[in-house]
Amino acid sequence: MKTSSQHWILASAIALLVGACATVPPGPPPDVVRLQNDLDRMHSDPRIASNGGAELANADAAVDMLARNERTLDRRQYQQGVYIADKLVGIAEASALARYSEQRGMQLGAERERLLAQTAVTETRTTTIVTEAPPPRTVVTTVAPPPRVVHTETGELMPRARAELMTMQDQMPGVESRLDARGLVIRLGDFMFEPGRAELTPTAEQSLDSVARVLRADGDAGIAIEAYGDDGMALRRANAVRDYLDARGVDSTRVSARTIGYAPRNTIADNDRRVDIVIRSDYR
């Protein structure tokens, strides 16, 4: 009797346990847990949390939607949702880290300009300097941010895309822009090229990406690339800039490249190898 009673209790306990298991919903699937963990990690990383922007919100929304709906989705829907949410999480992380690096690059760029100016002052005060192959250097002056409405040198309203370019200087480290008789001039300093070579540095490529984006939107603009220097290096650098813009969708037939010798004294050093991208105002 006792044994029978024990069996009955045991059977009841098992039945209750099985029933409980059947009614307690299982946790989210491993894919969803992984994505949620990734998002938690990103939100706790100040570099990502403070630079996540719309991409991080998109990833949050996607993973949340997947977690809430995973039981109602069939296998194919679920797999598609995981795939897309996974990529959106990746996009959020990469975009945030890119913004973080760009901001840090801008801060370092300002520090570099300050040090360059300090170096120039030091060299002016020193009568004799013996250094090993001093790197060519451009003292870049920071131009005050232009007003939102920008006019050409002839007083006409500047096309929107070109005006945007003038307001984008802070996104283009090492680049300054100005208006002169030729049009809107984007100036790339010597350090935008690998030393003694015509290859663009990553900084230059980053800045030219912004220029190319604007030039693609400003189809009326004719472009002249003017490289300073008296030898073949200047032309190779001008062509490197033209080819880079061409690869990013700026039709090379819109672009002329030439060398114009060294800049006049008192404005720039003889050893300066700058390249100007001139967005010509006379081109329609």
Binding site: A62, Q77, I84, A98, R99, L108, P173
Partner: protein, 121 residues
């Protein structure tokens, strides 16, 4: 932001409802995917995010194969995957380029500090 929320909603809806995907919808998805992959190529993803770009190409190939079979649901699914993977390749490319540029500026600052006396003033 809205674009991606709609994007996911559409993806979930599209993948389960074969009858809901017509040729026009699938073709539109495919066009957007091609644009995203081309943008990634222009962003130098072949250099900075080759694995993502390869994956985007593979998805695009699958979508284009599905066009041959006139399976519009598959076209839409693979096209959406190609698009989001192309966007990821662009984002990673931007990240790597920004990090490389920042590292270069950092080296330049270090060099100038060294030139000025071995440390930050």
């Amino acid at each position: 932001m809205k674009r991606y929320r709609l994007f996911l909603l559409a993806a979930l809806a599209v993948s389960g409802a074969a009858a809901a995907v017509d040729r026009d919808t699938a073709t539109l998805e495919l066009t957007q995917a091609v644009t995203a992959v081309q943008t990634a190529e222009r962003d130098d993803a072949a250099r900075y995010a080759p694995a993502d770009l390869d994956e985007a190409h593979a998805m695009l190939d699958s979508a284009q194969s599905a066009v041959d079979g006139r399976n519009w649901t598959d076209v839409a699914i693979y096209a959406e995957r190609a698009k989001v993977t192309g966007d990821l390749a662009s984002s990673r490319s931007r990240q790597h380029r920004a990090e490389a540029a920042t590292a270069e500026i950092e080296r330049s600052v270090d060099s100038l500090q060294h030139q000025l006396g071995g440390g930050a003033p």
